[in-house]
């Protein structure tokens, strides 16, 4: 759909909203780039299990959020599989958050704001962000079990180190839960507005 056609379909949109749409398009592109980078990280972990080092013997590794890391050159067999699972636990929720954010801003760019689809994307982004708090902590314990030491706290024992780890990942839960609540509030506001306008 061309911009002029979009304006015809949305006659109430102001020129300033057009600028907002342009910003949303740019943001969607940035989130898409982030999504592709994180997706390639998640996929490369699978590849590194089978090809843990370069032909010249340099080991492959992946830097993870919060300063953690996984060195695939140092592990073989089940520890390598566990390391891969830990990387997936850390990256997949982020991949999904970025996916929903890029879709959300694409909806905004199309002029869909208080609609079912963008609200659903906000809700899912919140859920995945919240779940990344738990999967992140689980991933750290899995990395320890697999013998990975990069960026780990000095001593990691369950459950003693749980508070320290929770503090490292707290941003996810403190952002995720309010986002879910915001999506719920937006959905209710939309429902009430539609009911008041007699649209079912």
């Amino acid at each position: 759909m061309s911009d002029s056609a979009a304006v015809i379909f949305n006659p109430n949109l102001s020129p300033s909203f057009e600028r907002a749409r342009t910003l949303c398009r740019i943001t969607a592109v940035l989130f898409t780039l982030g999504f592709l980078v994180m997706l390639s990280t998640a996929l490369s972990a699978v590849v590194f299990v089978f090809f843990p080092q370069t032909p010249s013997g340099v080991p492959f590794g992946i830097g993870l959020p919060n300063g953690f890391g996984a060195n695939f050159g140092a592990v073989r067999g089940w520890p390598a599989m566990g390391t891969m699972a830990a990387v997936e636990l850390m990256t997949i929720p982020t991949v999904l958050v970025l996916h929903h954010m890029r879709k959300l801003f694409s909806c905004f760019a199309k002029g869909e704001v208080f609609a079912a689809q963008p609200i659903a994307h906000i809700r899912w982004a919140g859920w995945w962000m919240t779940s990344s708090f738990f999967t992140g902590i689980a991933a750290v314990y899995l990395l320890v079990l697999c013998g990975q030491k990069q960026g780990l706290l000095s001593v990691i024992h369950f459950p003693n180190s749980l508070p320290a780890l929770a503090l490292r990942f707290e941003g996810a839960i403190f952002a995720g839960i309010p986002i879910i609540i915001a999506a719920y509030v937006m959905a209710e506001a939309r429902r009430i507005a539609d009911e008041n306008a007699s649209i079912l």
């Binding site: 079912a116 539609d194 009911e195 306008a197 007699s198 649209i199 079912l200």
Partner: protein
């Protein structure tokens, strides 16, 4: 004018408004408003849910009658 034929479809499917309301997550009051045509619009989302429950097409629920 657009006439809502929801009551006709409900009768054909031998379904009560209460059951439809429960299955699509609406209140009976809103189903009543829809049946009587006292609404300004119907979302595609709502039409989809009603068509799914009543196993019908949107055209079975809405009819155009020249005034």
């Amino acid at each position: 004018m657009i006439v809502v034929q929801l009551d006709v479809m409900l009768a054909r499917r031998k379904m009560r408004s209460k059951e439809l309301a429960e299955r699509i997550g609406f209140t009976e009051a809103n189903i009543s408003l829809l049946k009587s045509g006292k609404v300004k619009g119907v979302r595609f989302e709502t039409l989809e849910k009603i068509c799914e429950v009543l196993q019908c097409q949107p055209g079975d629920l809405l009819e155009y009658k020249p005034e």
